[in-house]
């Protein structure tokens, strides 16, 4: 209606938009993309305003600080011996080099030279030892504590050398160490301050509002391409989107609702990047109890649900289909979407073979927050077509934790799993979904004892395929990792693995 009223007259706003489109066209004619232009002339003294929904709860990642502190601090304020790059590879960071003994139990790390903490203290092997012990300490609430349990001894023969002795082989040690911040051993109480080695120092943190980082001019590595970053925290996604629309922030680290994208997508003032997250939306069966202890039933359910249609209805053109629990940024990824692909006819046949020709009824424990309730409704309607009745049971996150995760009192549930490299959960028969395939358990155990990364990758790839064939769970889709920025801003990470948001390469056009 309103369109037809205004048709024919060019308002000032439309005129402005056309002028921008014309400029863009001219730039394209000259054969230079705007992105290149932006990189050519960036303002190295610009402060980048970042908008985020994830304010840290405190500033200590061993004190229950939440994902927000990883976003703000990993690689920016604190560095580790190794860095998990945005592409998912593990690279040396504060460790200049390392060697592994013949038996795979002794790792010797050489530290980078000339590194100082923000307080001015030089980095020594004693700091590394203290930092690892912070994570493994009894009081530590780090989610990485368990993965470092194989560390038996840490020695510091000289200031630049750290020797770690393991109780059993652990090929993932460098990867696991990429989560361990190297902190000055003289630092006390890190919940509201920091003492790291990273390219930025903490300037100030106004709780509930902003956290600002300044460029560290004494940084040992390559200097950041901006003067600092300010994380602006929001609790309401609409308020965050408005901040970007009005230019109050330059970047949104992670867009959680597809509805908001329409206003940025076809607008030359903004860039929308579609990265790959590690967040998997899954329908987890309780593999211990009937009917889901039957592989055929699980495969039938997987085949009866059209994942593509589900993903499209939730995320539109964004997101990725996955045929297993492994996202493309894990080294043991392979495309398994063809395993138990959508095929309702064969689903019915499988159900008949499994002894359920008339289907059955089960209760689906559904967390009460997005997107689970919508996913549950979709699954309900899909499964109704093959004769399976779903009773949706909405529960809170806390109930999920006690009922499903702790008491294992469920038939099937929906959950998002966020971690990187978490296929190892399928090697634990006591995990909440109760998947128990001795061969997979063995493969996953052996993979950790591999002599080389290639051997580890091969073993986990094999496990990955077996788990997919068993339809241990139904992996519905991989969330997209969407970053939206003003078009003048480039150089930010797109995948945001482990919630990281490296700020040092961000450039703002002059």
């Amino acid at each position: 209606m309103s369109n037809s009223i205004f048709r024919g007259s060019v308002t000032r706003r439309q005129f402005g938009a056309r002028a921008i489109a014309a400029t863009a066209a001219m730039v394209a004619l000259l054969g230079v993309s705007p992105a290149v232009l932006a990189q050519a002339a960036f303002d190295k003294d610009a402060v980048i305003e970042i908008g985020s929904l994830y304010e840290p709860q405190n500033l200590d990642n061993t004190a229950g600080a939440g994902q927000g502190v990883n976003e703000a601090f990993n690689g920016n304020v604190y560095e580790a011996l190794f860095a998990l790059t945005d592409a998912g590879t593990v690279e040396n960071s504060l460790a200049k080099d390392y060697t592994v003994s013949e038996d795979g139990l002794t790792y010797t790390f050489t530290l980078q030279s000339g590194v100082t903490f923000h307080s001015g203290d030089p980095l020594t092997s004693a700091d590394v030892k203290a930092s690892i012990e912070r994570v493994t300490a009894e009081a530590s609430k780090s989610s990485r504590k368990k993965s470092l349990a194989t560390i038996a001894k840490i020695e510091t023969p000289d200031d630049a050398t750290v020797v770690i002795t393991l109780s059993e082989k652990s090929i993932s040690l460098p990867y696991n160490l990429s989560y361990v911040w190297i902190v000055n051993d003289t630092a006390t109480s890190l919940t509201d301050k920091e003492d790291g080695t990273g390219p930025y120092t903490l300037a100030d943190w106004r709780r509930g509002s902003t956290l600002s980082l300044d460029r560290n001019d004494k940084y040992w590595g390559t200097a950041p391409t901006n003067a600092g970053v300010t994380f602006n925290y929001f609790t309401d996604a609409t308020a965050l989107n408005n901040a970007l629309l009005t230019g109050a922030v330059d970047i949104i680290t992670s867009v959680q609702s597809p509805d908001a994208l329409a206003q940025f997508k076809d607008n030359a003032d903004f860039t929308v990047t579609n990265g790959q997250s590690t967040t998997k939306e899954i329908l987890a069966f309780n593999d211990r109890v009937a009917p889901f202890d039957n592989v055929k039933v699980r495969k039938a359910i997987a085949r009866a649900i059209d994942d593509k249609k589900l993903l499209e209805s939730i995320w539109g053109e964004y997101g990725t289909l996955i045929g297993s629990f492994v996202p493309p940024t894990d080294p043991w990824y392979t495309d398994l979407t063809a395993v138990d692909a959508y095929d309702p006819e064969s689903a019915k046949a499988l159900l008949t073979e499994a002894g359920y020709p008339d289907g059955f009824t089960f209760k689906l424990d559904t967390p009460d927050y997005d997107p689970h309730p919508i996913v549950a409704e979709f699954i309900k309607s899909e499964l109704a077509k093959v004769g399976v009745t779903v009773e949706i049971n909405i529960i809170t996150a806390n109930e999920w934790y006690t009922k499903v995760y702790q008491s294992l009192d469920f038939a099937a549930t929906l959950q998002e799993h966020v971690n990187h490299r978490d296929i190892v959960f399928y090697g634990n028969p006591d995990f909440y979904w109760g998947y128990n395939n001795p061969k997979v358990i063995e493969l996953i155990k052996q993979s950790e004892a591999s002599a080389t990364v290639d051997e580890q990758t091969a073993k986990l790839l094999e496990a990955n395929k077996l788990i997919a064939e068993d339809a241990a769970s139904d992996w519905l889709y991989l969330y997209p990792q969407i970053v939206v920025s003003a078009a003048s801003v480039t150089g930010y990470p797109v995948n945001g693995l482990n919630s990281q948001f490296f700020a040092y390469d961000i450039q703002k056009a002059e």
Binding site: D204, G208, A239, N242, A243, T246
Partner: protein, 300 residues
């Protein structure tokens, strides 16, 4: 006491909220010991009351920062928002309310009444969203939300950031206040003393200002006290819409994280402030109304 009991009735242990999925049983036990949620309720209560008596609001379970230090920071946002919007609401409501009553037979008198009815009917957050769309996104006059990094050290920026939240609360508050002013004015208009004053030769406006306002304002003050308290509490919603680091957003976050010390601290301080507002309103009322003043000193 009530605060304490209600919070403990919430399902979920703060230790779980602290650790999230994937924590081991030992980690949970350690976290419970740290936050004290493993102690018997009676003991938790005794600890709570005894520290309150020392004006110690405790330490946040989640941020591990003292609650008493965080609240003043938050008040530097919430108190200015409340007072500014309150002042703006009075500036809007009083003249408009009087006009609506005096000129009830004119078209604009009617319009004012209808608009104020609308203002009462629509929820605060919606007013906020409308104002953001109009003044932040379309004409870019004010920021859509947030608060400057250095707070009041950047006074102009801070005021610009508060403009829309203040306007939002003021519009909603003025709407209901306006109706009280209008009916109080109508009462005054129909009163005997005003008719007498007019009969003695005062002009209409003069009579209204000299006699009407002094009589009409007494009930309005107590209403204003109640409204001010509710504005303060309404800040919870507005702070969320505008991403302001005030007391309201601290409360919401505390509830979602089961951070009892933070929630208790915020509720304790806001209860105190609401009581204080009520007390001041009473005091002002007595100053204005000689009849009440007499009662205060105990004479018949």
């Amino acid at each position: 006491m009530v605060l304490f009991a209600l919070l403990r009735l919430l399902p979920g242990d703060p230790a779980n909220a602290l650790l999230g999925v994937g924590a081991t049983a030992e980690q949970i036990a350690a976290a419970k010991a740290q936050v004290g949620s493993d102690l018997p309720l009676a003991e938790q209560f005794v600890r709570f009351v005894s520290s309150l008596a020392r004006f110690d609001l405790g330490t946040s379970f989640v941020s591990q920062a003292p609650v008493g230090a965080e609240i003043p920071n938050r008040l530097t946002v919430t108190i200015p928002v409340t007072l500014l919007s309150f002042a703006l609401a009075i500036v809007l409501a009083v003249p408009l309310g009087i006009v609506a009553a005096v000129k009830a037979d004119r078209w604009y008198g009617g319009v004012i009444s209808v608009v104020s009815q609308l203002g009462i009917a629509i929820p605060v957050f919606w007013v906020g969203i409308l104002l953001v769309t109009a003044f932040a996104i379309n004409i870019r006059l004010f920021p859509s939300g947030g608060f400057p990094r250095h707070g009041w050290a950047e006074p102009l920026e801070a005021l610009r950031n508060l403009a829309l939240p203040v306007l939002t609360i003021a519009v909603v508050m003025a709407s209901s206040l306006l109706r009280y002013v209008r009916s109080a004015t109508q009462d005054v208009l129909g009163s005997d003393y005003l008719r007498t004053a007019r009969a003695l030769g005062s002009g209409f406006t003069e009579a209204l200002l000299r006699h009407g306002v002094r009589n009409g304002v007494v009930p309005i003050i107590s209403i204003i006290g109640i409204e001010l308290a509710s504005t303060f509490l309404g800040a919870v919603v507005v702070e969320r819409v505008f991403a302001l680091p005030g007391l309201g957003s601290m409360l919401l976050l505390g509830i979602s994280q089961r951070d009892y010390p933070n929630v208790q601290g915020v509720l304790f301080v806001s209860t105190l402030l609401v009581l204080l507002i009520g007390f001041i309103a009473d005091l002002v009322q007595r100053l204005v109304d000689p009849r009440l003043r007499d009662r205060m000193v105990g004479s018949p």
